[in-house]
Every structure is written in C-alpha cells, then in structure tokens.
C-alpha cells in the first residue's frame, strides 16, 4: 500500500470532468485506489464518490493505492492533479 499527497490546483475544484478523468485513469489499474480528504475515504473508481468528496481549490488530497500496480496507479493520478486535469 502506498500513499501520495497532492493539492488541487484547479480553480473550479473537482467537478464532473476532472472526476471522470480520475475514474477513467484509476479504472485502468487492477489495484484498489482511494482518495482521502480529511476523514473521508472514497473509492477512486466511482465517479459519484469523487464528486461527493467536495474537493475545492487548494484542498490537500491523499492518494492511497493497494495492489500489484500501485506505483503506476498512484503516479498516473498524481500526474492528473499536477497537470490541472488539462484544464488550465
């Protein structure tokens, strides 16, 4: 199990489009992936969960991956956050 910390750099936060990108990326990997905001942990392969997280601009998020390809999964999702979900 590995963890990475990221911060949300998008002005609008995680709305439907970035959430869909996260889900599409996370679903490519076999391992389990979670996103944590504070005490809430949700499954990163479910779009409703990610939108429900209510992650706005500047919120710190912890990416947790557990499985055979956990490194690749965590890096791929970290890259999405860093590249501002190709929005800006």
């Amino acid at each position: 199990m590995i963890e990475r910390m990221v911060t949300i750099k998008n002005r609008a936060g995680i709305h439907a489009r970035p959430a869909a990108l996260i889900v599409q990326t996370a679903s490519k990997f076999a391992c389990k992936v979670w996103l944590e905001k504070g005490n809430d942990r949700i499954n990163a392969k479910s779009i409703m969960g990610i939108i429900t997280l209510g992650a706005s601009f500047g919120t710190p998020i912890r990416i947790v991956a557990d499985g055979s390809d956990e490194d690749a999964a965590a890096s791929a999702i970290e890259h999405l956050f860093e590249s501002r979900f190709e929005e800006e």
């Binding site: 679903s27 409703m48 969960g49 429900t52």
Partner: protein, 329 residues
C-alpha cells in the same frame, strides 16, 4: 484532522420537525452556546442541587423540571447559593428548563458568570427527555461510509456491494424500473443506532438520488422515475455481494449457509451472488428480498425443505422394514 465539536448552538439549529422538535430557545448565558456537548446523555440535577456531588456527571445536559424549579425557588428564597455556585464551578454544557419555567435572579447571575447557557422549552420534562435522548443518540452514533448501492426491495433494505464495474448500479436501475426504491448510490453512509440497527443514507444531500451508469453517465432518478422511486434512508437488513463468477469457488447450493458481514459491530445476513453474462441479477435480488421477508415471518424455506426430505426418507425406511424387502430402494 480534529473532529468537529457538536455545540449547544448546533443543537438549537437542528431542523427537527413535529414529534422530534425540541422547541428550545436560549434565555440566558448566550456566550455559552459555543460550549460543546460531549456525551449523549441527560441528567436531573436533584442530587448536586442539594449538595451531593459524588459521581456528578457534569458533562451531561441538565434538565430542570417542575420539581427542580420549585427547589431552586426555595433555595432562592432562603438565600442559599452554595450548592449552585459549586454546581456551576463545573463546565456544564447547558441547563434546560421545561414547562416554560424560568429560574430566579441568583441562578441567572451565577450561570452567566460561569458562561453556562440557559435554555427553555415549552415541552414537559418526560417528553423533552425522550426526544433529546433520541436526537443525541442519533448524532453520536458510530458511522462509516461504504462503497455500494442501497436499495429498498419489498420493504427490505438491501446493500448491494461488489467491485467497481461488476454491475451494482445497473442492477439497482432495473430494480427501480421494477418499482423498488433507490436510497443511495455509490457512497453510502451508515450509522449504528441503538447498537443493533444500521441506518443507511446517501452521504451527500446535494448529490441526492443520482446514479452513474456506464454508457449513460450520471442520471437523476427522482426526475426520471419520480418521488415514488426514492427514499432518504433505510435500515440495512441484507447484503448482496456481487462478484464475478469464480469457477474455483464453492457457492452455497442449498441456502442454509448463513453468511454474515460485519458493519459497525452488527452482523448483517449476506448473500454472495456470482455474476455471469446472461444471469438475471435483479430478479435474484428481488427473490432474495422476498425470501428474507419470509424468514422474518418465521418460514425458512430451505430448512423446511430439508426437514420434509428427512421425514420422507424416514417414512421410506419404515415402509421398507414393514414390507421386509431388501431390494425396495
């Protein structure tokens, strides 16, 4: 991350209606509204008011009914404020006066000096006590969030769980189309009330009754199917765990395997349903719900079936002995 404290002001701001309403308003000690409520319990302060402070549960909310108010009046008349001062030397979360009664001047002075909020309600003490205990036990109930879909089928609350992509949302969609209700999709918040009831609801009111279906996207169930197709919360009585059919796994063929899942310390009956193309999962879930209803009424079909078989075999044995034939079978 620190837990958000539940303050007296939060208690006053709760939206409670009809038989849950507390009808509380603040009549003094306003700055104390920021005090937090740490335990879901109340106390009638008869003992400390008369000077006995051993085992004093000061962390509780204190309710002053007619008896307590009359005693306070007596103390006020006799000018005895010692027990009151000692009472308020503790960080009491709040004092509530029922029957719209109010305390005397010295009570107000001492309470406000120590920063304790004084609340008033028109409810009688017994009614207020049972309502406030209900509200507090709800708020302080242990809770967790699980990934799954919560539906109500024939009155049975079913949590459909399984890995992403196995078909939970699609199963729920067909169940809704067949007339059942959606409680929550994807993020289900579960609270354990009274130590044995699990109440599930959607984790976020804004998201409400939306579902994500691969190929369709996000759909609004309330708009598509109407208010008859949704429910805000439901007790979880059965867990249906969907999994990809595993040829190496042994699935229960008789129905007497009582599997359970533990959620917040409560064991919930669980069914493991293998998913394979061509299998009608929604009808299996519907039948499971009806079977569960039957079990609750006392009819356990699989056990009864086995007992009938045993009886039949016994009668066959008896007949064989009676006819004394070795080749009967």
């Amino acid at each position: 991350m620190e837990e958000k404290q539940f303050t007296v002001l939060d208690l006053l701001s709760l939206e409670l209606k009809e038989q849950n309403a507390l009808n509380l308003h603040c009549i003094g000690g306003r700055e104390g509204l920021a005090r937090s409520i740490a335990v879901p319990d109340i106390n009638r302060p008869g003992l400390p008011l008369s000077g006995f402070f051993e085992s004093f549960a000061w962390q509780r909310i204190h309710i002053f009914g007619r008896g307590e108010s009359a005693f306070l009046q007596k103390l006020e008349d006799e000018g005895k404020t010692e027990s009151l001062r000692r009472f308020f030397s503790f960080p009491i979360p709040a004092c509530v006066f029922t029957h719209n009664l109010a305390p005397g001047k010295s009570f107000f002075e001492i309470a406000e000096a120590s920063g304790c909020p004084i609340l008033q309600t028109d409810l009688p003490s017994s009614e207020l006590t049972s309502r406030i205990l209900r509200v507090l036990s709800d708020l302080f109930a242990p809770q967790t969030t699980v990934h799954g879909v919560l539906v109500e089928v024939f009155g049975i609350g079913i949590l459909i769980s399984g890995d992403s992509g196995v078909g939970k949302s699609e199963t729920a969609l067909e169940l809704i189309e067949r007339g059942h209700r959606l409680v929550a999709d994807d993020v289900v918040q579960i609270r354990c009330v009274n130590g044995s009831n699990l109440i599930g609801q959607g984790a976020n009111k804004i998201i409400g009754h939306h579902m994500e279906i691969r190929g369709l996207g996000i759909i609004n169930i309330t708009h598509l199917f109407g208010v008859g197709a949704i429910r805000d919360n439901k007790q979880i009585q059965l867990v249906c765990s969907l999994e990809e059919w595993d040829p190496n796994k042994v699935y229960d063929r008789i129905g007497t395997d009582e599997k359970t899942t533990e959620i917040l310390g409560v064991r919930v009956p669980t069914l493991e349903i293998p998913v394979k193309p061509g299998r009608n999962i929604p009808i299996i879930v519907e039948t499971a719900a009806m079977n569960e209803r039957l079990k609750k009424m006392g009819y356990h079909s699989a056990k009864e079936f086995n007992q009938n078989i045993l009886r039949w075999l016994e009668s066959e044995n008896a007949r064989a002995v009676y006819f004394n034939r070795d080749d009967y079978m």
